[in-house]
Amino acid sequence: MAAQKATIAAIRSPSVKELSLHPDLLSGGHRLCAGCAESIIVRQVLLAAQAPVVVINATSCLEVATTIYPYTAWRVPWLHSLFENAAATVSGVEAAWRALQRRGKIPEERIAFIVFAGDGGTYDIGLQSLSGALERGHRFLYVCLNNEAYMNTGIQRSSATPLGAHTTTTPAGEVIPGKLQWRKDLTGIIAAHRIPYVAQTALTPQPLTDLTTKVRRALEADGPSFLNVYSPCNRGWRFEPADTIRISQLAVETCYWPLFEVVEGEWRLTYTPREKKPVAQWLEAQGRFRHLLKPEHRHVMDEIQVWVDREWESLLARTGRAAAKRDEAPPRPAPGHRPERAEPPQTARAAQGEGGAARCPCGASSPGVQWGCLFCGRVCCPRCAYSPEGLTVCARCARDLFGIAEPPALASAERRWISRE
């Protein structure tokens, strides 16, 4: 196993110049939006693959835009079946390849079976079939083109959508500041299947060949492999088409989307930014987060920074780059509002809101555990807070926005609280 690990780690992508000598296996003339990251990723994946490639595509932007009948942009065998079954479909193709070889019906030849699916087809509706295929150990590479929402149907939230993002099903409104939940840690879930190779990557000039290197490594793995590729969507995220690569790089430099890999269970960072940039730089570059710039939603931005910091720290610990602090237990995507969280982020606004006293209006002088309200950012103690589905809403907002009766502890404090304003 160690030998295998070392072998995989030693694999490097050829230089871009060398790759440019290979034929492009995705033609022009497909109808993805101008500036789409998906076709760039696909081109790079296909350029990096050495063995002949057979592609299985889940229903997605990529699928519809590259194969509008009677045209196909694919110069490799390509199969699309449905939205949620790409991993099951590739299981059948790969099994057929083994069976047909055994019976001498096709030449004995290695084939790289590569699945392309979006985050909807991977994080959500396709997770079951993916998990099943990984557990069964079919030899294929699954590439998730992660644009953090259902873009093919018009920008609806998925479980890959980050907190605070505006989508058409989590619109930023007068009351609710976009999506209320953190994204799912899918890469971690996939790694938990203990498959030989799992990685997170992106289109970045720096490091230039992170994606192509990981494709090469993934295809060397003896079993299933998985790449979670960050795929900025200029229509869905609201940025200029020319900025696709810049946004990718920012996600990496802010450590919102760290580049790492898990080789035979060993976590390794493949890139450490020289200077970790504030996540605000990445957020501010995208229209989907524009509402977070308003003062009343500013605290969500702070929460995102706290979350990114925590995730980055736990990744550093996991990859042996920093001492494991509170990371003895498997790190969890720390939701800003989970009641069971040990060290909640005390948002700047929350602290200010209470004059730096960090005190719940009910009078709890030393609540021990406090939360910032998702809507107003004020501190609220666990007894008073309303916590639907792991979120925290302070008692006042819960009353005003959801009609939840205020807890008795607050009833007397309420008058005092209001009068103070």
Binding site: P77, L79, S131, G132
Partner: protein, 405 residues
């Protein structure tokens, strides 16, 4: 050379699959078809067949893997029932739309809710418009024979459609019957080799399977599917005849029993035909000109053949083992009524829904239907509903020692 063995319908299906030797099987267990894949998995484990068995995590994935393997160029088989077939539903259309000749054994079973594991045709009827050929077997022998034929029908270049071989859950799937099994070599020679025209794994000629087809071409692709299904009756007959000439058991689109001079007849599919035939033998001795028409093919529906066979009759009753709530009758009834619509003079036609969720069809139930047909044939007016439930308890009834309701 043949062998006489005692097998359940499920085991007979597994035996046929072993002899067919598909390259890939992907399946998920569900009562009452589980035994098909269990038996087959044992064949694989014992090295008696070299199929790639994919033990998937759901029926949706089972049919998806079948689609992938069939597109790759493999011969593919699977089995399922009930909720499993329902879960496969959207993938069924992919298999037929991509023209992949997958063959599936379906031990038919009721659908939830309420949950019920026993036999009726609700599951298969739910997928009657999925573009699959549907053949209904009466007993274990026919399950075995039909699976061998189904592969040839599905892979026929003029057809290239997936085929379901349906047989009644428990009644056929779990009852041990005596049947005749062919030698492996004979079976294999009859089935032949699959020669896919455009396999996905042909790396020299990369093909795109499953593109987005917009309004400018979608209709043409669907029109091709109708054409393929239109070719199916001829091919089903041709393959059934070839099978008969080789092995002595002939098959067609339907089976007529005492229909030559009949005045009244029942139309049905599946295992209940045995009970009905028994009743007809008795009625014939009483001088009643009763007959039976059992459909073996439901998709394609042999409309012309049924119309020709029934034209001379005075009254017929369809026995539907599934209801189509909100339509004039069960699925078989509405289709056959349409089939007879072309006739200048039509027999009177009524429908009975029977056997839901494994409810037994008893000889006295069948007699009751025939006596109504005799009245109808005599031109007696009546005010009974055209579509009725046959095996339903209208009022409290004491427990019956024979398990009837």
């Amino acid at each position: 050379m043949t062998r006489v063995v005692a097998l359940t319908g499920n085991q007979a299906a597994a035996e046929a699959m072993r002899q067919i030797r598909p390259e890939v099987c992907a399946a998920y267990p569900i009562t009452p078809s589980t035994q098909v894949m269990e038996t087959f998995a044992q064949f694989v484990a014992d090295g008696r067949v070299d199929t790639e068995l994919i033990p998937v995590e759901s029926e949706h994935s089972a049919m998806s893997a079948c689609v992938g393997a069939a597109a790759a160029g493999a011969r593919v088989m699977t089995a399922t029932s009930s909720q499993g077939l329902a879960l496969m539903h959207e993938v069924l259309y992919v298999a037929s739309g991509l023209r992949l000749p997958v063959v599936m054994a379906v031990a038919t079973r009721a659908l939830s809710a309420p949950i019920n594991i026993h036999g009726d045709h609700s599951d298969a009827m739910g997928s009657r418009d999925a573009g699959w050929i549907q053949l209904y077997a009466e007993d274990a022998q026919e399950v075995y024979d039909t699976l061998l034929q189904a592969v040839r029908i599905a892979e026929h270049p003029q057809v290239l459609l997936p085929v379901m071989v349906c047989f009644d859950g428990f009644t056929t799937s779990h009852t041990i019957e005596r049947l005749v099994i062919l030698e492996d070599a004979e079976a294999r020679a009859f089935v032949g080799e699959y020669q896919p025209a455009h396999p996905l794994l042909d790396l020299k000629r990369p093909v795109t399977y499953g593109p987005l087809v917009l309004p400018d071409y979608y209709t043409e692709i669907k029109r091709q599917q109708r054409e393929a299904m239109d070719h199916a009756p001829g091919v089903i007959r041709e393959v059934g005849k070839a099978f008969g000439e080789r092995f002595g058991r002939f098959y067609g689109l339907l089976e007529a029993f005492h229909l030559q001079d009949a005045e009244v007849a029942l139309l049905l599919m599946g295992s209940a035909a045995g009970t009905v035939k028994g009743v007809v033998e008795g009625l014939r001795q009483e001088g009643i000109k009763a007959g039976v028409l059992r459909l073996r093919a439901f998709r394609p529906i042999p409309a012309r053949e049924v119309a020709a066979a029934l034209a001379p009759l005075k009254a017929v009753a369809v026995l539907d083992r599934a209801d189509s709530v909100g339509s004039p009758g069960g699925p078989l009834f509405t289709d056959l009524r349409a089939a007879l619509g072309e006739l200048p003079v039509r027999p009177r036609m009524v429908d009975y829904v029977y056997g839901l969720g494994g409810r037994d069809l008893l000889p006295e139930d069948v007699r009751r239907v025939y006596s109504r047909l005799v009245r109808l044939a005599a031109g007696e007016g009546e005010d009974e509903a055209v579509c009725q439930y046959l095996t339903v308890r209208e009022a409290p009834r004491p427990l019956s020692p024979v398990g009837g309701a």
